[in-house]
Amino acid sequence: MPVQVKRLLIVFAVFIGLMIGLKVIFTPESWREYGAYRGYALTEIADKEAKYVQMETCVMCHDSIGELKDQGMHINLQCELCHGPGYIHIEDENVDMLIPEDDQFCVRCHAINAARPQDIIKQIDAEEHSEGEECIMCHNPHQPGL
């Protein structure tokens, strides 16, 4: 074999060896565990903290409000939609949750809009219906039928 070919083959071998070495060093450990991505990422994403605890957890302590809510139209509504996320409160019950008094909490769903199906939700025109008064002056948000 001519010496130039031998030298070229040595150079090729060095470069290919370098590339394979770098690939082995820099590929993360969980690569290709499930597919063409870092498998450990699934664990990292799954370990994030969940902020909303859902109704079942709230009524474990607040069972009287839960029973009241079960009697009315708001039975399917999650507590945390109005009261905010509960993940701090369940660890330390001295931390208060949000207590909504603003009308915006009610108007979000109940404002009149042609796209809202009439048979699913009652709608009101905010100014005409209450004339400036707050919703909770007349309606109990946990059991609106009262």
Binding site: Y37, A41, I45, E49, A50, V107, R108, A114, A115, P117
Partner: protein, 229 residues
Amino acid sequence: MVSLLNPLKMVYATKRPKGKGKWYGIGIDIEKCIGCASCARVCKVENNVPNEPFYFRNWVEQYTITNDDEIIVSSPNGGIDGFTQPVPDEEIYKTFFVPKMCNHCAKSPCTQVCPVGASFESPEGIALVDQNYCIGCGYCLQACPYGCRYVDYDKGVIDKCTLCYHRIKKDLDPACMMACPTEARIYGDLNDKKSAISQFIKDNNCAVLKPQLNTESKLFYNDLSQEVH
């Protein structure tokens, strides 16, 4: 190496598990949506999404088709700021709300274009972003035809709906699913014939957004009008 031998395998981000593995799908019932945007609001809190407009993992749009065949789409801060009717009742032919989110496509364009492999689909079919690997090039942002990704400027990476993967793994529901007051949003295992989502697809006339792009979207809408794009 396997992909060289079988190039067709590269088109699917993850293969649908046969038999026992979970394969998540989502259903949204447009007939039931009241446009309260609780889903959008709750998602922002749960997933630390920046509060400004245009950073959404999911959002709600109101489509109004007038009697003159004009299509008006409005989405004030994704629906979080409350909807107002753009035209009075007499001029409306039909109007409805369309909540949108990541479709978790089976043949997702976003996972195909990622140059580093940070955009991927989990074995259960949920499209995720590996934020420790993402370089923030934004190619997936451009590739997604549904516009559901955004740049997280604090970290310099891309973020998107994860179907609350961190909640699903703890046996909770995704935030938007639990927040919906009218149960218009359903999710579940498409491989399980008895799951709510399989029943939803059987019982309703379902359609997906942009079917012509062949993304095999797993977000099925009931009562989707042709004007929705």
